[in-house]
């Protein structure tokens, strides 16, 4: 048994050395394919984070009359707290007169005439409600519950905005999923292709081995080990590239967002993928590379095994 293991390892090593054109080609293809796969995971994660952020931004505003009583405000607040408890609403912070006034002045910074027309006392107070769902039907239903209640001046939702976000996030999910499938499919196809070509180049070798009395597994295992190692080297290269790309990517985003408070609204920072997740992609790539290499080589060898 031990001699078998030794044999398989020696065979593998020799396969490497003596067919190095093929080895280099396989490793390169594996690296490229796995990098594509890794990038597809990466893109999906980045957009997931951004979409999450977007859906957090969907909200409507319950304006209280400037002269609403404390009881009226408390009643609305308790309804919102119930809805928060049952998970329909994520959060609903209250903005008092002072805060409302400041926001108003900030918004109208570019329009001084308007900015100076209102006093703090005239500002309506408001609840900014962030529903848990992005679905515009659910949100409209929720809005209906506040409209016309005592002390409520009006309930406004940027209806278009809600619709856009809901459609857009669907669209982006679709795009990233499609990209993911295409890139991953491509990766698998390329690896399979290279392995098959490499096996084709070695088909006579396989035939001779069979004729000398080698069993299928005896032939297959060194090829599989070879494929496994090629896959591992490929995934190491892909992982290193991915980590490198992530460093560059993160650096670029940091430099773009540096000193821009407004950028938060663009959700740009959410495109930064944490190194923890990159680590988990690396693990996936290594497993994928090893499996695809070994299984691919095993299956491809089988094509030439029936002598």
């Amino acid at each position: 048994m031990l001699s078998r293991v030794g044999y398989a390892l020696r065979e593998t090593w020799q396969g490497f050395q003596r067919n190095w054109t093929l080895t280099a080609a396989s490793v390169l293809t594996a690296a490229v394919s796995l990098l594509l796969a890794g990038v597809s995971f990466f893109i999906q994660k980045a957009f997931d984070q951004v979409l999450e952020q977007w859906s957090n931004n969907v909200q409507f505003v319950v304006f209280m009359q400037p002269d609403a009583t404390d009881d009226q405000v408390a009643a609305v607040r308790s309804t919102l707290e119930d809805q928060q408890a049952s998970g329909i609403v994520r959060e609903a912070p209250y903005t008092d007169k002072t805060a409302s006034y400041e926001e108003f002045r900030r918004l109208f910074a570019t329009n001084p005439t308007v900015r100076d027309t209102l006093t703090e006392e005239e500002m309506p107070t408001q609840f900014k409600v962030a529903p848990a769902s992005e679905d515009s039907v659910v949100i409209n239903n929720l809005i209906g519950q506040f409209r016309g209640r005592p002390g409520v001046l009006d309930v406004r939702s940027p209806a278009e905005y809600v619709k856009v976000i809901s459609k857009l996030s669907g669209f982006i999910r679709w795009v990233t999923t499609a990209l993911w499938i295409v890139l991953l499919g491509t990766a698998v196809g390329l690896i399979w292709n290279t392995i098959r070509t490499a096996m084709f180049a070695r088909r006579r070798e396989i035939e001779v081995m069979k004729l000398v009395g080698a069993t299928n597994w005896f032939i297959r295992i060194p090829f599989m080990l070879e494929g496994l190692i090629q896959g591992l080297i490929g995934s190491a290269i892909a992982s290193a590239s991915l980590v490198g790309l992530n460093v560059i990517w993160t650096g670029r985003i940091r430099s773009v967002t540096a000193g821009l408070s407004n950028v938060k609204d663009l959700a740009l920072v959410h495109f930064i993928v944490g190194s923890g997740y990159v680590g988990s992609i690396v693990v996936r790539l290594i497993v994928l590379g090893a499996l695809a290499g070994a299984a691919g080589a095993g299956i491809a060898a089988s094509r030439f095994l029936d002598v």
Partner: protein
Amino acid sequence: MIRLENVTKIYDGDVTALRDASFDIPKGEFIFLVGPSGSGKSTILRLLNRQYKPERGDVWVAGKNINRMREGDVPRLRRQIGNIFQDYKLLLNKTVFENVAYALEVIGQPRHVIRQQVPQVLDLVGLAGKEDRFPNQLSGGEQQRVSVARAFVNRPLILLADEPTGNLDPATGEGIMKLLEAINKTGTTIVMATHDQVIVNSMRKRVVQLDRGVIVRDQTRGVYE
């Protein structure tokens, strides 16, 4: 040990390479297959090694009907047979040593046995000192001798030799024949296809002659023609 019963082999549906051939080879016999080029000698050897299945008839080797054999049992059959192929069929990216060692690795011999036996066998066929060459760094006759060495290194029950001396000078060829005779003496059944009249005539063994796929002569202690 080996029996052919009315065997017909047709390649690609229209080339009848062997027609209704029958013979019986007891254990330990040495038999020559002779006949003109394309008469079916290699075809018989390929059938015995289960490289092909015949279209009609049965092939028995070592007590088994190898046409009915499961695919999984074929490697075991082949490990009992030593094969010298007409085109050598060496592994081109293995050295001489590794090519011969492969036949031992296949049957799971431990490394120390391999290290001991392979050089011994290479010495017998006159290739001492060429262990680390690759096949394409050898002369034609040297490649042929590697294939001879590989065929008997694991002491097979049966040795199928297709023109084992075709690329050898008479003296070296004679050496190989002495070797085969010695192996035959230890009980190994040998079937050898050859064109070498001198060898066949000097050995006086059983001769099966083929002509266009038909056995036209089966003579004990025969001559080439």
